[in-house]
């Protein structure tokens, strides 16, 4: 899922500027699960904004709403009527949700309350780790199910490098060497033969190097 982290209160206050009436819009999907922008986080932020703005001498009226998925037109469309009541809209969704709001309601600016950090999973309650970079050309079949693009600091295809020491990456002692993990798992699975094959340079055109990406499925498109 998409992992996000709330921006500092001071930065959010700066974005809101002189706004008097603010709507905080949460999202009920990924950012709810990672405790960054769901209904509860919306309530906490809205309360904090009401108090801070009052203490700063320009009280804001802050309302709260959370939609099931902020990245789909169908879910955000019902907000249309409400939006005109507000000077500012603050989204607690990921960057996709913020842009969906801006695209769907071009007459209003929707501001970002979160930093969208990565695609990952909760390693344990309260700890999230990156697992995917959406490179567009999955190679997990070749790497024992562990992604070196997301988890190796150098994104090596033929690792490990000389910076791998005692299973740890030289970049930070808290980062396990992805290639060490790959090798250990491949041995356990009896698939180490796969790793003896030298991988050619990766074609990054399926990733961000090819510009913004798009998928069109004609079989799913509705007749217009």
């Amino acid at each position: 899922m998409i992992i996000g982290e709330q921006k500092p209160l001071a930065e959010i206050m700066e974005q809101l500027g002189e706004a008097r009436k603010v709507l905080v819009v949460g999202c009920g999907t990924c950012v709810t699960v990672c405790f960054a922008g769901g209904e509860k986080e919306v309530a906490i932020l809205a309360s904090a904004l009401r108090m801070k703005s009052k203490l700063d001498g320009h009280p804001m009226e802050v309302d709260e709403v959370t939609v099931q998925r902020q990245c789909e037109w169908e879910y955000i469309d019902p907000l249309r009527e409400r939006l005109k009541e507000y000077d500012a809209i603050l989204s607690l969704a990921c960057g996709i949700g913020v842009q969906a709001m801006n695209e769907h309601f071009p007459e209003y600016i929707t501001l970002p309350g979160l930093n969208t950090t990565f695609l990952g999973l909760p390693e344990e309650q309260g700890v999230w780790e990156e697992r995917c970079q959406a490179c567009g050309d999955c190679i997990l079949d070749l790497t024992a199910g562990i992604c070196p693009i997301a988890r190796c600091s150098k994104q090596l295809l033929n690792g490990p490098c000389g910076g791998s020491q005692r299973g740890v990456c030289e970049v930070d002692a808290n980062i396990p060497c992805a290639w060490q993990l790959i090798w250990e798992r491949a041995v356990k699975l009896g698939r180490e033969e796969l790793l003896l094959e030298i991988q050619p340079p990766k074609n990054w055109s399926t990733s961000r190097d090819g510009g913004p990406r798009k998928i069109i499925r004609e079989d799913l498109r509705l007749q217009r």
Binding site: P8, L9, K40, A43, S47, A48, M51, L55
Partner: protein, 143 residues
Amino acid sequence: MNAPFEPKIIAFCCRYCAYAAADLAGGLRIQYPPNVRIIEVPCTGRVDVVEILHAFERGADGVMVAGCLEGDCHFLEGNLNARRRVQYSARLLEQIGLGGERVAMVNLSSAMGARFAELVTEMTEKIRKLGPNPLNTTRHGRN
């Protein structure tokens, strides 16, 4: 004429310890400041950051979360979770500008009626020194 400031403190009290301790304090006729408003909760693990913030937003001068002694939680870890949430709330209150010292986590058992009175007295004195919650414009002095 302005009456002297009397803090209003919200105490979220766990049913299994602090709430019973408050009851015991009453039964023993132990005096403690009338500034505290007790809210019974099934466990301090039930108290979330949002409840603490809402108490301040609605004018509380201080918030006390009173749970079981560490290691004695009826639900095993509710009081430990509460402590971390209180710490998180304190940091948030600092960013808001109200000050993190207005919220406190305390631990006691149901047999500690006198300790409950002591903690309430300490908290009341601390908040009295900090002064009224500036968000509360309706009263400064009355309970």
